[in-house]
């Protein structure tokens, strides 16, 4: 019995050591340049921002009907994942719904950024809130927890319930960059929801709630709030009068080539940009 347990222990530890060696040796070197990510292959992988994902899926579908024999796989993961996937070459194209951070450009110096559309971020409240217009400063003070009651904004005497996205989300990143600025932080008491859709559900069902989401997710269940008198609509975002607008990016490691280039060219073509408009985003061309 003793011998058996001893040999079992030996086997277990041997396998563990082997697994350890395999795991350490197997990790790829990040940042290695990939000259031609598509390599003439007929499958293009796209991953990253969940905001860009639905649009990318539609673009991919349209591209695939025109080019039979090409497969484009679109996956989510979030903007940071998109940057990493493109930079490390695990995906041919990465998607990011915010500006690329300096630290990311240092880590992946070969990243090529292609802006495929622009997207406004709307501030929305529960439909019963009777405040319809705020300044950027007021929005910042609400989300940082400085203003906690609607009465300070001319509304009812009710506590404001903040709904935000989680750390790392591209929508949150863009909101922090354009509204919160360098110093203000989103209050820790904010309810955090992990997607645009669940932010909308939470804001629409929670009285006195305020949140933010991509224009593409606006519907009649939530009330859009104007910023300095400018309503969050596509024409206002396109002509520059609505201030909270972010780029939707596609990223490649190095110059795109082959099918990857063909797909990106299609997105920027008239047909591709038409789909961008159909989805409620602002075209770049």
């Amino acid at each position: 019995m003793k011998n058996i347990s001893k040999s079992v222990f030996l086997v277990v530890s041997l396998i563990l050591v082997a697994a350890m060696v395999a795991a350490c040796g197997g990790s790829s070197t990040p940042g290695a340049p990939v000259s031609d990510p598509s390599g003439g292959n007929s499958t293009v992988t796209v991953s990253g921002s969940t905001t860009v994902q639905p649009l990318a899926e539609k673009l991919a579908e349209a591209f695939m009907t025109e080019n039979t024999g090409v497969r484009i796989d679109v996956q989510g993961g979030g903007s940071s994942v998109g940057v990493k996937a493109a930079g490390e070459g695990t995906s041919d194209i990465g998607m990011a719904s915010r500006e690329i951070k300096e630290s990311e450009l240092i880590e992946f110096p070969n990243l090529k950024i292609i802006v495929i559309a622009r997207d406004g971020i709307a501030i929305v409240s529960h439909p019963d809130v009777n405040v319809g217009d705020l300044t950027i400063e007021q929005v910042r003070d609400i989300f940082s927890g400085k203003i906690t009651n609607w009465k300070d904004l001319g509304g009812e005497d009710q506590n404001i319930i903040i709904v935000s996205r989680e750390e790392g989300s591209g929508t949150r990143g863009a909101f922090e960059e354009m509204v919160m600025g360098e110093d203000a932080l989103i209050a820790a008491t904010a309810i955090l929801q992990p997607s645009n859709g669940s932010v909308r559900t939470t804001v629409s069902t929670t009285p006195y709630a305020i949140g933010y989401m991509s224009f593409g997710y606006l519907d009649e269940t939530v009330k859009p709030i104007s910023i300095d008198g400018v309503a969050p609509t596509e024409p206002n975002a396109a002509d520059g009068s609505y201030p909270i607008v972010r780029p939707l990016n596609m990223l490649t490691n190095g110059e795109p080539a082959g099918m990857v280039k063909a797909f990106l060219d299609f997105i920027l073509s008239e047909a591709g940009q038409k789909l961008v408009v159909e989805d409620g985003y602002i075209p770049v061309k």
Binding site: L16, M20, V81, I161, E167, G168, L192, P207
Partner: protein, 300 residues
Amino acid sequence: MSARMIADKTVKVILFASAIVSILIVLAIGFFIFRESIQAWSEIGVGDILFKTVWRPGQDQYGILAMIVGSVSVTLGAILLGVPLALGCAIFLAEIAPAGVQAVVRPAVQLLAGIPSVVYGLFGMVILVPLVRKLNVPGNSGYGLLAASIVLAVMILPTIASVAEDAIRAVPENYRHGSLALGATKWQTITKVVLPAGKSGIIAGVILGVGRALGETMAMIMVIGNSVIMPQPLSDNPLTFFLSQARTLTGNIAVEINYATGVHESALFATGVVLFGLIMIVNASARWIIRGQKFIEKAN
């Protein structure tokens, strides 16, 4: 060696190998989670991770104490609400219900265990959260510990009820006969004789429920609000503690892992290590108590 002996040996080896594989899987998971978390422990520091309450990956602050408190509070709430219910259910099934009623109630309770956790979450989000919001306390959003505890109480009910029922049934019949013969009523027999005799089994059931509660993820994300704050009472009434939003250790991992890179990712693995440790302690104590129970049974 005869063919029968060879067959016998082969089966033994295969069974032995399957047992080893499950041990290996546990060890491998533990090992890889720990390996991924090493960067966080060394760069942020063990003390800063375990005892700081501010979690802001954007500002390189990675304290998970608020999440530990969140997980423990919601589990405590679930135990407070769920244990009396589960215990009542177990006593009813083991001692009172006639066979016909048992045949309906037991599968119904066990069915609760089969409902996917996202369905519990949906139910909590659409039904419970608006109900909790009706409590008129400033700052009460409905999302928080109370709604999460209620959902969790229902989720751990089948685990506790079935283990507790087994423990009650394991109490030797002559205990009951002795008590009844001395003139005790049925209720006195249950509370003074049967429950104390089955105590360790019942406690083991509760601890298994605790383990299940600590590990629950999806339903918690949907109803607890996910704010990284130390839960605290919203007003002078200390009970409003349970209206506070919170985040669980499991929720922290699930909500942020999609976006995390570098130290942030490693800190999420560190969260996993803490969770792993907590659950291991809980399960070990359950085993320890169950073993104690077996001992008593043998002595009888």
